[in-house]
C-alpha cells in the first residue's frame, strides 16, 4: 500500500515536471507576448524601446532558457510576480483558490449527496416511473448550457424574486461575516451543482445496475437477504468503483472549468483568474495556476486509484505494477 502510494507520487511528480515544461512551452507558443500588447497600445514606441521592454520582462531569451530560469527560481520557492497584478504569484492565487475551494466544496458535496442516492434509488427499480423521472432530471441537468442556467438563476432569484444577490463575493464595505459570503455563494453553487449532479446520478445508476446483475448479488438474494442489505451492504461497494473515477476527474476539470459560472456570477475564482492570466499574457500567473490545476487532477487520480483498490479487493496494489 505504502509502496504503491510512493510509486504513484513519484510518477505524478514526474508528470507534473513534464507538464510544467509543456505548459511553459504552450504559453510560450501562444502568439503575442506582453510587449506585443503594449506595442499595440502605444504608437510612439521605437524598436529600441521594444527591445528594452522585452529585456525588462525577460522575453528576449529563448523558451528553454526562460524555463530553466523559472524552474531554478521556482525550486527555491520564488514563483515570480504576476505581470498583470504586479504581486507575487501566490498572493494573487491564494484568495482565488480559497474562493474556488469554497464554491467547489459546496457544490461537489451537494452534487454527490443528491446524485449518488438518486442514482441508486433509480437503479433499484429500473424502468419504473421513478427511474424515468430520475433519468429525465439527470439528463436535464447535464443538458443545460451552464451560462444559460446561470443567467436563468439570476433572473429568477435576483431580479424577479429579489431574494438572492445576483453576483459577487460579498457585500463590499460591510463586513457581513460568513453568512454574507455564504449568501453570495448560493446561486453559483446551485448552478454548478445542477450541472454536475446529472452526471453523478447517471454514472451511479449505470454502475449500480451493472453490479446488481453480478452473480454474487444473485447469491446474496438467494440467501434471502433483504433488498436493502443487498444493495447497500453488498452492491454499493463495487458500484462505487467507476463512480470514483468520474468524481476524481470532474474535480480536476471543475477546478479550472468553473470559468463560465464564475464569469456569470462575477465570482473571482481560479477559472476566471486562469483565463485572465492566459488572455492577458501573465506568464508566471498562468503557469502556476495551470500547474495547480494539473496538481489537483493528479491528486484526484491518485485518490481514485486508492479508492479502487480499497473498494475492489480483486485489484491489489501490487497487481497494477506487475
Amino acid at each position: 500500500m505504502l509502496r504503491f502510494l510512493g510509486e504513484r507520487l513519484v510518477q505524478s511528480a514526474a508528470v507534473l515536471a513534464v507538464m510544467s515544461f509543456v505548459i511553459f512551452a504552450l504559453i510560450g507558443l501562444m502568439p503575442g507576448d506582453p510587449v506585443d500588447l503594449m506595442i499595440s497600445a502605444d504608437p510612439d514606441l521605437t524598436s529600441a524601446d521594444i527591445e528594452k521592454l522585452r529585456e525588462i520582462y525577460g522575453l528576449d531569451r529563448p523558451v528553454v532558457e526562460r524555463y530553466g530560469n523559472w524552474l531554478w527560481a521556482a525550486l527555491q520557492g520564488d514563483f515570480g510576480f504576476s505581470r498583470l497584478f504586479a504581486r507575487p504569484v501566490f498572493e494573487v492565487l491564494i484568495p482565488a483558490l480559497g474562493h474556488t475551494l469554497a464554491l467547489l466544496g459546496i457544490s461537489l458535496t451537494l452534487a454527490l449527496c443528491i446524485g449518488l442516492p438518486l442514482g441508486i434509488w433509480a437503479a433499484v427499480k429500473p424502468y419504473s416511473v421513478r427511474d424515468y423521472a430520475v433519468n429525465l432530471f439527470a439528463f436535464a441537468g447535464i443538458s443545460v448550457p451552464s451560462f444559460w442556467l446561470g443567467l436563468l438563476l439570476i433572473i429568477v432569484f435576483a431580479v424577479i424574486l429579489g431574494i438572492l444577490p445576483a453576483g459577487g463575493l460579498g457585500t463590499p464595505g460591510a463586513d457581513g461575516g460568513w453568512a454574507d459570503k455564504l449568501i453570495y455563494l448560493v446561486l453559483p453553487a446551485a448552478s454548478l451543482t445542477l450541472a454536475s449532479v446529472g452526471g453523478h446520478t447517471r454514472y451511479m445508476r449505470a454502475s449500480m445496475l451493472e453490479t446488481l446483475r453480478q452473480d454474487y448479488i444473485r447469491t446474496a438474494r438467494a440467501k434471502g437477504l433483504t433488498e436493502r442489505r443487498v444493495v447497500l451492504g453488498h452492491a454499493l461497494r463495487n458500484a462505487l468503483i467507476p463512480v470514483t473515477t468520474i468524481v476524481a476527474l470532474d474535480f480536476g476539470f471543475l477546478f479550472s472549468g468553473a470559468l463560465i459560472t464564475e464569469t456569470i456570477f462575477a465570482y473571482p475564482g481560479m477559472g476566471k483568474l486562469t483565463y485572465d492570466a492566459v488572455m492577458g499574457n501573465d506568464f508566471n500567473l498562468a503557469l502556476v495556476a495551470l500547474l495547480l490545476a494539473t496538481l489537483v487532477t493528479l491528486i484526484g487520480n491518485i485518490l481514485a486509484d486508492l479508492a479502487y483498490a480499497w473498494l475492489d479487493p480483486r485489484i491489489g496494489f501490487e497487481g497494477k505494477n506487475q
Binding site: 510518477q11 505524478s12 508528470v15 513534464v18 507538464m19 505548459i23 504552450l26 504559453i27 507558443l29 501562444m30 502568439p31 429500473p126 424502468y127 424515468y132 433519468n135 429525465l136 439528463f139 436535464a140 447535464i142 443538458s143 443545460v144 448550457p145 451552464s146 451560462f147 444559460w148 443567467l151 433572473i155 452526471g199 447517471r202 454514472y203 449505470a206 445496475l209 446488481l212 446483475r213 452473480d215 454474487y216 468503483i241 467507476p242 473515477t245 476527474l249 480536476g252 476539470f253 479550472s256 463560465i260 486562469t274 483565463y275 492566459v278 498562468a286 495551470l290 494539473t294 487532477t297 487520480n301 479502487y308 475492489d312 480483486r314 485489484i315 497487481g319 497494477k320 505494477n321 506487475q322
Partner: protein, 308 residues
C-alpha cells in the same frame, strides 16, 4: 460460484428487438433521426422558403414569425429556422464526429493499458493524466492561431468557412479520449482477473483474441454510455467555446454560437435563445436515452431485468 459464461456478441436482430422495447430510447432515436434529416435538408428549406441563411436584412430585424419566416428573424434579419437547421448540421457533426474519434482513441488506449498492465499501463496512464491535466484554454488559443495548412489540411479547407469546425473536432478528440480510456482501463483491469478470461488464457487464446472476444463485448456498455454522454458534452462544450469566442466562427451557425449570441438578447428576444437552447437540450437528452437503450440492448442480461 458458477463460472460466468460469456456469450459471443449478440446477434444484431436480437439487439434491435431489445432496443425497440425501450420506448424512450426509440422515441429519442426517432427524434434524432428527424433532427438529423431536417438539418441535412436545410438547403431544401432554403430553396423552399426562397431565402438564404446568411443574407442579412437590416430592415427586418427581430421580425415575429410569419409565413415568410416561420420562426421569425434574428438580430441581423436572417431567418431563424434556417439558421437553426444549419446550426444543427454543424452541432451534430461536431458532436458525433468528435465523440466517435475520441471513443475509438480512448478504447484502444484503455484496452491495451488495462489488459497488459505493467509498464505499458504506467506509461499510458501517465500520458492520460498528462492529457487530462492539459490546460484546454492555452491549447485552444495556440490552435486558434495555428496555420491549418501547416497541419496538412488543403489550402481550400484551411480557408473555408468550416475551418473552425475541423479545428474543434480535432481539439475535442485530442483531449476528450481520456474519459473513455480511463473507464475502459478500469473495467478491463477487473475483467482480466475474471475466471472466464483466465480460462480462455489457460486454453491458449491469443491476447488479441481475448481482448476482442472476451473483453471488448463486456466493455461495450461503459463505452456506449460514455460516448453517448460525450456527444452531448461536445455539443455543450462547443457552446462554451462559443461563449469564450473560441468556437465556430460566424457566419456559420451552430447551436452553441446561436445560443451565445442570444444571451445579450435574453430580455428582448427570448425566443432566439429558447430555440437553440431547446435544440441542445433535447438533442443531448435524446443521445442519452439512446445510449441507455443501446446499453440494455447490447447487454445479454438486460431482458430478464427488464421484466423483473
Amino acid at each position: 460460484m458458477t463460472a460466468a459464461i460469456i456469450k459471443p456478441a449478440t446477434p444484431l436482430s436480437l439487439v434491435t428487438r431489445r432496443f425497440l422495447r425501450h420506448r424512450l430510447a426509440v422515441a429519442s432515436a426517432a427524434l434524432l433521426a428527424v433532427l438529423a434529416a431536417l438539418s441535412l435538408a436545410a438547403p431544401l428549406f432554403e430553396t423552399w422558403l426562397a431565402l438564404d441563411a446568411n443574407t442579412v436584412d437590416l430592415f427586418n430585424r427581430f421580425a415575429p414569425p410569419s409565413t415568410d419566416h416561420p420562426l421569425g428573424t434574428d438580430e441581423a434579419g436572417r431567418d431563424v429556422l434556417l439558421r437553426l437547421l444549419y446550426g444543427g448540421r454543424v452541432s451534430l457533426f461536431v458532436g458525433i464526429s468528435a465523440a466517435l474519434t475520441a471513443a475509438i482513441l480512448g478504447t484502444t488506449i484503455g484496452l491495451l493499458s488495462g489488459y497488459f498492465g505493467g509498464a505499458l499501463d504506467a506509461i499510458f496512464m501517465r500520458v492520460t493524466d498528462g492529457v487530462i491535466a492539459l490546460p484546454l484554454l492555452p491549447l485552444l488559443i495556440v490552435l486558434a492561431a495555428l496555420d491549418l495548412e501547416k497541419l496538412g489540411f488543403s489550402a481550400a479547407a484551411a480557408q473555408s468557412e468550416g475551418a473552425s469546425l475541423y479545428r474543434i473536432v480535432v481539439i475535442v478528440a485530442l483531449v476528450g479520449w481520456t474519459t473513455v480510456a480511463r473507464l475502459v482501463r478500469a473495467t478491463a483491469l477487473s475483467l482480466r482477473e475474471r475466471q472466464f478470461v483466465l480460462a480462455a488464457k489457460a486454453q491458449g487464446a491469443s491476447a488479441a483474441r481475448i481482448m476482442a472476444v472476451h473483453i471488448l463485448p463486456n466493455l461495450a456498455s461503459p463505452i456506449i454510455v460514455a460516448t453517448t454522454l460525450s456527444v452531448g458534452n461536445v455539443i455543450l462544450l462547443e457552446s462554451v467555446l462559443s461563449f469564450l469566442g473560441l468556437g465556430i466562427q460566424p457566419p456559420l451557425p451552430s447551436w452553441g454560437n446561436l445560443l451565445t449570441n442570444a444571451q445579450e438578447l435574453i430580455w428582448d428576444a427570448p425566443a432566439l435563445a429558447v430555440y437553440p437552447g431547446l435544440a441542445i437540450f433535447v438533442t443531448v437528452i435524446a443521445f442519452n436515452f439512446v445510449g441507455d437503450g443501446l446499453q440494455d440492448a447490447l447487454d445479454p442480461r438486460s431482458l430478464e431485468r427488464g421484466r423483473r
